[in-house]
Structure formats: structure tokens, C-alpha cells
Symmetry: C2
Subunit: 190 residues, 2 copies
Amino acid sequence: MRRNKKERQKLLQDTIVETPFITDEELAEKFSVSIQTIRLDRLELSIPELRERIKHVAERKLDDEVKSLHIEEVIGEIIDLQLDQSAISILEINKEHVFSRNQIARGHHIFAQANSLAVAVIDDELALTAKANIRFTRQVKESERVIAKAKVVSGDSEKGRTIVEVSSYVGNELVFSGQFEMYRSNTTQR
Amino acid sequence: MRRNKKERQKLLQDTIVETPFITDEELAEKFSVSIQTIRLDRLELSIPELRERIKHVAERKLDDEVKSLHIEEVIGEIIDLQLDQSAISILEINKEHVFSRNQIARGHHIFAQANSLAVAVIDDELALTAKANIRFTRQVKESERVIAKAKVVSGDSEKGRTIVEVSSYVGNELVFSGQFEMYRSNTTQR
């Protein structure tokens, strides 16, 4: 549906606030206009380009610090972290992540992003995956950007286990979901 | 339990036939003798060392050929393959596979070995993972060797799905088990 410029710019602004990691291509498709139009809109509205927006978020000091592993061991880039509550990371799918034959992302990379995020969100020096129940809901292609969101949903302090649910999206499409049962050493917090 | 040399050599031979990828260290522990004793036993029995045994198996032409992906895309080395039936691969865990903090293998590498084997066993040009239910049953440490065994257990030709069960071992200890529901394009065979 075409809209007038004012309407479109209002919606564009709202959309970027809600989903800050949306690309110009996705915005152009969403509003049925050219990528050039989106770029001009952003210019007029002083909204930085995607790369700058991601950098900005990444440079913002995370509220918490990863404890259970070295931050460079996380697959993807962590952009938000609240220990024992939630975490978000971004993984850009490139050539090394896909099957050479069909450019579909290999499951274990999508899994690795989600699993390492489930480890990172645990507020403990030791966190290991005990079990996982996962589902690949849509193929991910080369050059797509996967945003994984982890949520700590419950803990069983007697067994020393914590359940983390991870949902991964491309745009607003769910591509992966998983429930991870994490083993941890310190179980006093939940 | 100590045994006399003749008994031990007989058992050693049987053990290597059953579990050809057992190390001299593991054999020494199993028979409560020194590694030197095991080496002398192997020499007397003309059993090649582990590295040679693995090479020998790897050089033997596989009964079938991987169809669903390029063989170099398999994580680990495939040493046996019967399409739509079973497959075996070996992955040596080294520095790049472990958490720097505790030298425990990261779950996604163990998962990647199992998942790529589940893809490789499918007799189809297109095989993708739809779901998986996995369990990490014992920590794997740096320099251990993981042997993954995949078995095709059933297929649902209407839905185009095939179930593959993968069990991964270090020595004879189960370290990982998973049930993978695989999507495939061609469903005529099962």
C-alpha cells in the first residue's frame, strides 16, 4: 500500500524504533518504495544507516557482563545482556555459514548462536548445556542477519538446572526456536 | 584385574576388533598394565597403531557416497556410510573446540558433528534439519576423540521427513545423543 510521504516517514520512524536492525531493503519492501526513497527519508529524519545503528548499540556499555565464558567465545555479537534474565545477539550469515550448494545456512551455526547466548545469559562461572529441544522453522540464506533473543524462564535450584528459551528471527520471521536446559554450579540465585 | 600375557593378548585383540579406535592409553587402563606393555603386545600381534588403523579405515572406499552435501562440509571424518541406513564419523577435539577457561568441548561442535552426519546419511540431494531433541550426557575434554554413530530409524513419506538417531561416544562412554527430524525433497525411498 502506498502512503503519502508524511505518513510513510512517521511509520518509518516507528518501525525503526521497534525493530532497529531492519535493513533499508526490508523497509523499501515494507513500504513499497525504492531503496533510494528510504535513504532520503532517513536523511531527512536524521536516522543513521543500519551499520551505524548496530555499532551504536554494540558500543553502548552492556548492563551486565558475561560471566560464564569469554565474550569473544560468543557466536554472534551480544547487543543486550541482563544476567539470569535475557540477552540478544546478532549473527550475520555469510559464505562460511552456508551449504555451498544452495546457500542455506547450516543448522549448527544457527544452533551455535542460540546455544552460546544461552550460556552467556547464565550468571555463573560455569554453565554447560545439558539438553536442548530445537526447531528450525524457516531456512536462512546467505547475507541475512539473525537476531537471537534468549529468556531465562525458570530454574530448578535443587537439580542445579536453568531453562533458557531462545527465539531467533530474520526481520520479524521466526527462523529458530529452542529450549535449553543449562547446568550451572551456583544455584542460589534462582 | 591382572591377567597373564596370553589372556591379555587375546582380550586385547578382541577389544580392538570391537572398538578399533581405542587408544593405547585406554587399553593400558582397561588391562591395568603400562602403555609400553600394550605397545609390545600390539607389536607381537602385528596390530598397527591407532593412527594407522584410522587411516586404513578412512582410505577404504566408503560403501556409499555422500549426496546431500559436499563431503568436506561434514564436521569430522566419515569412516562408514550406508545411505538411508547408518553412518559413523570421528572428530578429534582440539583447542579450537573447547572453552578456553576449562578445556571442555563446546556443545555446538559436538552438535555439528552429529547434525552433519544426520544430513550426510540421507540419500537425497536436499536434506535439512527440521527439529532436534538432544542431550549432552558427559563432558568432552580437549584431545578426546568423539565417535558419532547415526542410524536412520524411520521415515514419514507423506510429510517428507526422516528420523535419524545419533549417539556419540568417547571410548565406550556416551557423551551425546540426539534425535533429528530431517526434511528431504525426495521421499520415495522410505
